[in-house]
Symmetry: C2
Subunit: 147 residues, 2 copies
DNA sequence: CTGATATCAGTTGTACTGATATAT
DNA sequence: CATATATCAGTACAACTGATATCA
């Protein structure tokens, strides 16, 4: 006989589970960031700059997996707030070099705490091992998101 | 020293991995369904009717995890195509009972093949055990998508 | 009355396309 | 000229909100 935990074909589809789990995750993250007046794009840009140092906007797009059309507004807002600076590249003046400023680093810490809180909410009920396994299984799939 | 496989904080965030893996999955599914002139909503509705039998639209919304606002148009289109019938419930005439018709069952088979092809594309490089593990890890997260 | 159901109109957020200006 | 970068306007889609009509 079928075990009672046997889920329907629809409920076992990896693509469907991914989209619904991502929706849950997105709600947690959005809510956590709203609590500190932030946005996922801000976090992605600040964290990437913190990790890789100053980058051109197009390089930022690549590293963050963001679209060029969305990057402009995000960087402009972060620059207005003093979290990043945006200066023409001396070597290639088509480029604008985006650099993390001290205020941006402090801002990143706040966003990072909110984000980690959201991960824990999302994964409450999952063991640390489960989190590691999930990350390991998702990494090769997520890697194909860029192009 | 850090192992070379050590990914950045950003790249290891479960919420981010989920959203990017879901994006990859969604592109595969959308493309596969486009190939047969279908849509994910059609598949969800037809598969749910096939599995649970005739349902009211609101019950369909619950089972599919779809919004009531989106369900109306989907059911109308499926009814126009003869894949489902929509008749007033004899017991409760506020309800419309949606029933899978033979043409809808044949349509479901086509969509199902496309969807399963998309899963295999998505998971190429993952073992069958990996697929099972992924499903097991995602199921409790995805379950929270409804409300 | 209330509560549930179905429908319709419209909003938001994310991903994305196409066109343009500018500089190499 | 071609190529890369940044910007702007606007599209496509899924998820969602609010209002309304219907009827038990």
């Amino acid at each position: 006989m079928e075990p009672s935990t046997e889920a329907s074909r629809l409920a076992r589809l990896p693509s469907r589970l991914l989209s619904r789990a991502a929706l849950v995750a997105s709600r947690h993250v959005t809510q956590a960031l709203e609590g500190v007046g932030g946005h996922r794009y801000d976090f992605a840009v600040l964290a990437t700059l913190d990790e890789f140092g100053p980058l051109s906007q197009s390089e930022l797009c690549r590293r963050c997996g963001m679209d060029r059309s969305d990057m402009t507004a995000v960087v402009s807002a972060l620059a207005d707030e003093g979290h990043v600076s945006r200066t023409p590249d001396a070597d290639d003046r088509r480029r604008k070099v985006v650099r993390l400023e001290p205020a941006g680093r402090r801002r990143l810490e706040v966003l990072e705490q909110a984000i980690e809180g959201a991960q824990q909410q999302l994964l409450e009920g999952s063991s640390p091992d489960d989190r590691d396994r999930l990350v390991a299984l998702l990494t090769p799939l997520a890697a194909r998101a860029d192009q």
